[in-house]
């Protein structure tokens, strides 16, 4: 009883801190290189295929490759009306994918390694059960509503330097850890020709390569949104103490208790 009480109110454990910062560095590199890769072909599609000669779901104005131009006259492959065509690209596009892709996949290795370690340790240490997954009794409509109203009014409690977490906080962390990040990894795998050769169901899961790419894009937006809100909350609740707690494991409140005159 005593033990579980201490660990549930203590600071972040070492493995949480290591995984947190490894994943942070990996995520920032992945987002940076991901945007670079998107700039090379800033068009998104749905289904298996999509290219400059087919209609896009939407196109982003993020590089000079936007509003593609400079193509030779298109030639039909078949005699039928509406036949698919071919055309040659005659202009030099912006393309930094050599380092962009390699750095993306290198960072992905770190995210996958930190993520797997975190998931295993989170299950076996009881971290998920105690700190991340909301208990059933917590999930009352009234408490949820109260937490939403509290956040809307920016009533943010000051830093505790670790768990316990609030209800919305738990739901958000669980969504990132169990849904958004795994979705990034699996949609990423779904764009690999070698991996989808072995596991073709990955393509069926999303409805094709380009659907996986588009979901990969929206999951990035969701994670960037999480990053901004997370940073905002960390700053509002006390950036210095939160940063120290996630880096050294020192629990700010506890330290103050011990050394108070």
């Amino acid at each position: 009883m005593q033990h579980s009480h201490l660990s549930s109110t203590g600071g972040h454990s070492l493995w949480v801190r290591v995984c947190h910062w490894l994943a942070t560095i990996a995520f920032l590199l992945l987002a940076f290189t991901g945007i670079e890769i998107l700039m090379v072909h800033p068009r998104l599609y749905w289904g298996e295929t999509g290219n400059d000669l087919t209609p896009a779901l939407f196109e982003l104005p993020v590089s000079r490759n936007y509003k593609h131009q400079g193509w030779t006259a298109s030639q039909a492959f078949f005699k039928e009306a509406g036949s698919p065509v071919s055309a040659g690209r005659t202009y030099d596009i912006f393309n930094q994918n050599g380092w962009g892709r390699s750095l993306h996949f290198l960072a992905a290795w770190f995210l996958v390694a930190a993520g797997l370690a975190y998931l295993l340790l989170g299950v076996f240490s009881g971290h998920f059960r105690r700190h991340i997954v909301p208990a059933r009794k917590e999930l009352s409509r009234r408490d949820l509503w109260a937490d939403i109203v509290g956040h809307a009014k920016l009533l943010i409690p000051s830093a505790t330097g670790g768990p316990q977490y609030g209800l919305l906080q738990k739901i958000t962390y669980a969504g990132v850890v169990f849904f958004a990040l795994p979705l990034m990894v699996v949609t990423g795998f779904s764009m690999s020709p070698t991996i989808t050769a072995t596991f073709p169901f990955l393509l069926d899961l999303w409805g094709g390569f380009q659907s996986a790419r588009t979901i990969h894009f929206f999951a990035t937006i969701a994670l960037l949104l999480f990053l901004f809100i997370h940073l905002f909350m960390v700053i509002r609740s006390g950036f210095r103490s939160q940063f120290i707690a996630m880096t050294t494991g020192n629990k700010y409140g506890k330290e103050k208790d011990h050394h108070a005159p």
Binding site: I37, L38, V40, H41, R43, E48, T49, G50, N51, D52, L53, T54, W71, T72, S74, Q75, F77, F78, P84, V85, S86, A87, G88, R89, T90, I93, N95, N97, G98, W99, R101, S102, L103, F105, L106, W109, L120, L121, F124, S125, M191, S192, P193, T194, I195, T196, A197, T198, P200, L203, F209, Q210, R213
Partner: protein, 254 residues
């Protein structure tokens, strides 16, 4: 007091990871030689991906094949005609061969093969032909589906009598590129020397008269305008003609 023998969670996790590592070791023998990294951390990441794909995935899985109605429009990018005189470093030889409708074109098969030789377009067409409707995946992010017809690289290598010492198959193109693939990809049943696209002779912008189709990797590994195919025992980065020294990954199954 006698120590109790209990298995703690930590011990269970550690021994479990050790056992997983042990299971993966035999697979590593399939990796063979890793591509050079030049001390560059990005190339180390590429090598790790290559080693992981080769040790964890069965190398001969077939990529998805589509039906005729799935064929899409298909951009031609990069070199559109190596013989175009307005092109820097254009190939006069290619222009001449193109003018003669590639009747005088020959694919030179060399290196670690018992019978090096020259293959005309007719020679390649006499071999058993393989048709496949597959998805081209460009590193830029776009995809397109087309029907390709050709002869498997495996069949050409076997008819030339590939030697057991051969580890890499290197391709040289009329537009000055050189690139290699390992034997797992070279012997893959869908790796073909394609001479037809969507039921017609391969168009010049798509690599006439013959291009490689390497379906298990990203588009730029499927070299257009083939001139030579050389089997080597050692890895060759091909210097400036290869892409690895210009910062591009040699292996691109991802």
């Amino acid at each position: 007091m006698e120590k109790k023998r209990i298995i703690t969670r930590r011990e269970a996790i550690i021994s479990g990871l050790a056992a997983m590592g042990g299971l993966m070791l035999p697979g590593c023998s399939r990796v063979g030689q890793l591509p050079p990294t030049y001390g560059n951390i990005l190339r180390m990441g590429d090598a790790l991906t290559y080693a992981a794909h080769r040790s964890l995935l069965p190398g001969q899985s077939l990529v998805r094949e589509y039906s005729h109605r799935d064929i899409t429009s298909f951009p031609a990018t990069g070199t559109l005609n190596p013989g175009d005189p307005s092109r820097h470093n254009h190939s006069e030889l290619y222009a001449k061969l193109h003018h003669g409708d590639f009747r005088n074109w020959r694919l030179s098969v060399e290196g670690a093969v018992a019978r090096p030789g020259l293959y005309s377009l007719e020679d390649l067409m006499r071999f058993p032909s393989k048709k496949q409707i597959t998805r081209h995946t460009c590193e830029e992010g776009w995809t397109a589906i087309a029907e390709w017809q050709g002869v498997t690289v495996r069949h050409v290598l076997e008819s030339a009598g590939i030697l057991p010492s051969g580890r890499y198959v290197n391709f040289f193109s009329f537009d000055g590129w050189a690139d290699g693939i390992d034997m797992v990809d070279a012997l893959h049943p869908q790796t073909i020397l394609a001479y037809a696209m969507n039921g017609k002779q391969l168009p010049v912008p798509h690599g006439a008269p013959v291009r490689l189709r390497l379906e298990t990797q990203i588009g730029y590994k499927s070299m257009k305008y083939l001139q030579r195919m050389v089997v080597t025992e050692k890895f060759d980065d091909h210097g400036d003609a290869g892409s690895i020294k210009q910062g591009w990954s040699w292996y691109n199954g991802i």
